[in-house]
């Protein structure tokens, strides 16, 4: 693999993760339990789409096939998508969504704090922008984890189940393959394996405040780095890509 191909791959992984998170959160539009949350989730969805676009722009700038950011988003199949499995998990009930976002938001704040020092100016710029946004995403999801956990018997049960359920997709956040290794060693990317301890500490702190416990299982599922997904991604792409694939000349 050349340097450019590696950087392309790295940017696609981060960009795809944001696009898919953005898509999932966008599905809440007009469906949340209160108007304020409907607006919150769709606002956060927009941030993810914006960050995803920034990553895909950087990806497109090193793509030997000269694909545009839109081509990258709309013309790749499931096996060519590299988003984290966590991102594609269904919204479920509100606790499922909050648990999914929370586990990622804690990670994102740590990730972008490190990426600020990237040797690649564009990535460092995305990190500066992203950090401001993922911080309030974290604030939003962490406050809901506490509210649900320290809420009623029912809300406590649901958020605990949701955290337990999403837990198996968190190992992947810290997974490194050869591409990640080389990109991290060159100072462009982040060695995410080094973020795991800090992540676990912060997650534990919020769970404790929420009267919740850390999951007691070690089940884990990974695969996104090679484009192997859970069944959910295909359904997302089928819907998301339908229009641009059916009408390739469509313009906004």
């Amino acid at each position: 693999m050349t340097d450019k191909e590696r950087l392309l791959q790295y940017c696609l992984r981060q960009g795809d993760t944001h696009i898919i998170f953005g898509y999932r959160l966008g599905e809440w539009c007009s469906k949340a339990h209160i108007l304020e949350e409907d607006i919150a989730l769709t606002n956060i969805a927009l941030d993810h789409m914006g960050l995803g676009n920034a990553w895909l722009e950087r990806a497109a700038s090193v793509d030997s096939e000269k694909r545009s950011p839109d081509d990258l988003a709309y013309r790749r199949n499931e096996r060519e998508y590299y988003n984290l499995l966590l991102a594609e998990q269904p919204n479920g009930n509100y606790a499922n969504t909050i648990a999914r976002q929370f586990l990622f938001d804690v990670y994102s704040v740590l990730y972008y704090s490190e990426l600020l020092n990237s040797a690649d100016d564009t990535l460092a710029g995305i990190a500066g922008k992203g950090l401001k946004e993922v911080r309030y995403h974290y604030k939003h999801s962490a406050q809901w984890v506490v509210r649900l956990g320290d809420g009623t018997v029912e809300s406590h049960k649901k958020i605990q189940e949701a955290i337990d359920d999403m837990w198996r997709f968190t190992e992947e956040l810290f997974e490194m393959d050869e591409t990640d290794d080389i990109i991290a060693k060159s100072g462009v990317g982040v060695d995410v394996s080094g973020l795991k301890e800090a992540w676990k500490t912060q997650v534990s702190e919020v769970l404790e405040k929420a009267t919740l416990s850390l999951p007691d299982h070690n089940l884990s599922r990974t695969g996104s780095k090679t484009g192997v997904h859970t069944e959910h991604l295909g359904h997302i792409l089928a819907e998301m890509q339908y229009l641009p694939r059916a009408y390739p000349d469509a313009q906004w």
């Binding site: 108007l35 607006i39 922008k129 939003h140």
Partner: protein, 164 residues
């Protein structure tokens, strides 16, 4: 008849391009325009997004291009830069006053102090009656950059331009 096209002229023209969501502020006052380069009748303008997913960005670009082309430039190129990231700390006092007069409470405090988890929020004075006895109704408002508040004194609801 053609006025000389220089950098000052471009800034002056851009200062007349309103934010599509908050028309009392220009794209310059908002801090979105970061740099301007002029060579003969070609202008290059570097803008930075307020929020990375801000849907107004496309409108910003289109409005800047049309404003400059209308005023003698033949070629206008827009660049997007993310670094340094946009902050409300760049907003001038004049811009803050305009926001307030428009009915939007301007950002309070400094961005770097505002993002701690469970931190106590600074009181947001009501833009209509100045009372600081206000409460937040929703952290996310009608656009990414605003939250929704209510004044406990005059009971009016108002938007707050978030400090970021």
């Amino acid at each position: 008849m053609v006025e000389e096209l220089n950098i000052e002229k471009v800034w002056e023209l851009l200062n007349k391009v309103p934010d599509p969501e908050i028309p009392v502020l220009s794209v310059v006052e908002l801090g979105v325009v970061r740099d301007v380069y002029v060579k003969e009748n070609r202008a290059e303008v570097t803008i930075t997004p307020t929020y990375s997913g801000c849907p107004a960005m496309k409108t910003f670009s289109d409005d800047i291009i049309s404003q400059l082309k209308k005023n003698g430039f033949e070629e206008v190129i827009i660049h997007t830069a993310y670094n340094p990231p946009w902050t409300t700390d760049w907003m001038s006092e004049t811009a803050r006053t305009k926001l307030k007069e428009y009915g939007i409470a301007p950002p309070q405090g400094l961005a770097k102090n505002s993002l701690k988890l469970f931190a106590k929020n600074l009181p947001i004075p009501c833009p209509r009656c100045e009372s600081t006895d206000t409460r937040r109704i929703s952290e996310f408002g009608s656009t990414a950059c605003k939250s929704l508040h209510q004044c406990n004194t005059c009971l009016d609801t108002f938007d707050y331009f978030k400090c970021i």
